[in-house]
Subunit: 208 residues, 2 copies
DNA sequence: CCTACCGATCGGTAGG
DNA sequence: CCTACCGATCGGTAGG
């Protein structure tokens, strides 16, 4: 599901935020929580607004439409420090471990996993406003993983019979599927361990 | 996602169906299509009714509430020949291949995959009317797969280092994740091939 | 099965 | 940011 990495807390003493910016952040936070609980279609502007103590018309002063709010949520996720850096190093084993590290981060922030699982599932529909966003994310994740497996193959570190494209597709599918199962039974599913085990199973030698 | 196998067509000359039964079947079919397209919450009784040429009040004559209609859809799926039989043989390699055979069936019936992917994702929410249904289905699938891998382990046919519980969890997660990716890019994803490859990778010898 | 209705809720706008 | 409103849509019921 590719949840992004959240930014390190900015110093609250910075004072660089106007009151409007703070309000905007409050709204975005409430929207993330709501989307995670109820999905996009299941989240009303009135309920999101109620959670930050304003009316839905007040919310529309900050975000001109329901879709604009969703777009802002996704943009913020992308903008937050981490994701881009984490997924931009050179492909290879370290890149795959970074991908798993992202899953490890997500396990400590279940809200993000819920948000992405919910939205990604809804966004399978071609007319969903987040459809393209997720399509692009999946494609990027697959390509990044595929390049990493190809790099390992070039070094002769892939087990015989392992195809880089297949391994990449499987890894991404596994991250998705495991996150959903983890959501419904957190005690029983070792998300990070299962992913490490999977990657290790594709390699000739040990993991690191 | 565990889509069930559809019944072989019953003879249309049977005549055992009253007009009311036919209408009920029409409604169920339209509901399945709508749930696949828009999910449960996104499907209105009025639109489902419109597709079968009646009013939404007319639909409520056959199914007393929106939840009752969903329950009927899921019950019919379970009742349909195949699922129970297909997933009730003795655990083992053949059972795993039956599971994959189910995926193969689903690939030829994308509507079922969409229905299950959509509903399963929505039903992660604890208050969703299909929540328990999917929880039970996942648990059953995992246990069936785990027993199969344990049987293989007892015969010494599992590769060294492969844990039956882990392999089962991963297989089910993989089926889920791959189905979603397949839905969004059917040309690029070989659902059945990927699953066979995964199972083969857990074994010491060849697949069959 | 339908017409006709109910109360509730939705996203969005006007106008301040 | 709010009050006040709009048109649309929702699931469900009454009464036939």
């Amino acid at each position: 599901m590719m949840g992004g990495v959240r930014a390190a807390e900015r110093s609250p003493t910075t004072g660089g935020y106007s009151k409007g910016r703070i309000r905007r952040e409050d709204i975005l936070g409430a929207a993330v929580a709501m989307y995670a609980e109820a999905g996009y279609h299941g989240s009303s502007l009135r309920e999101i607004a109620r959670r930050v103590g304003i009316t839905h018309a007040g919310l529309l002063y900050y975000f001109p439409s329901k879709e604009a709010l969703l777009a802002a949520v996704l943009e913020r996720r992308d903008a937050e420090d981490g994701e881009r850096e984490h997924l931009t190093g050179p492909p290879g084993l370290e890149a795959l471990l970074r991908l798993i590290g992202l899953a490890a981060y997500n396990v400590r922030h279940p809200g993000i996993v819920e948000l992405y699982s919910r939205l990604a599932a809804e966004a399978v529909a071609a007319d969903h406003p987040a459809h393209e966003y997720f399509e692009q994310h999946y494609r990027m994740a697959r390509e990044y993983a595929a390049e990493s497996f190809r790099a390992l193959a070039a070094e002769g570190r892939l087990r015989e019979g392992v195809d880089p494209e297949y391994a990449a597709l499987t890894l991404v599918a596994l991250m998705d599927g495991l996150q959903v199962q983890w959501l419904s039974d957190r005690g029983r599913v070792d998300l990070v361990g299962s992913l490490r085990r999977y990657v290790a199973g594709q390699l000739r030698g040990p993991l690191e």
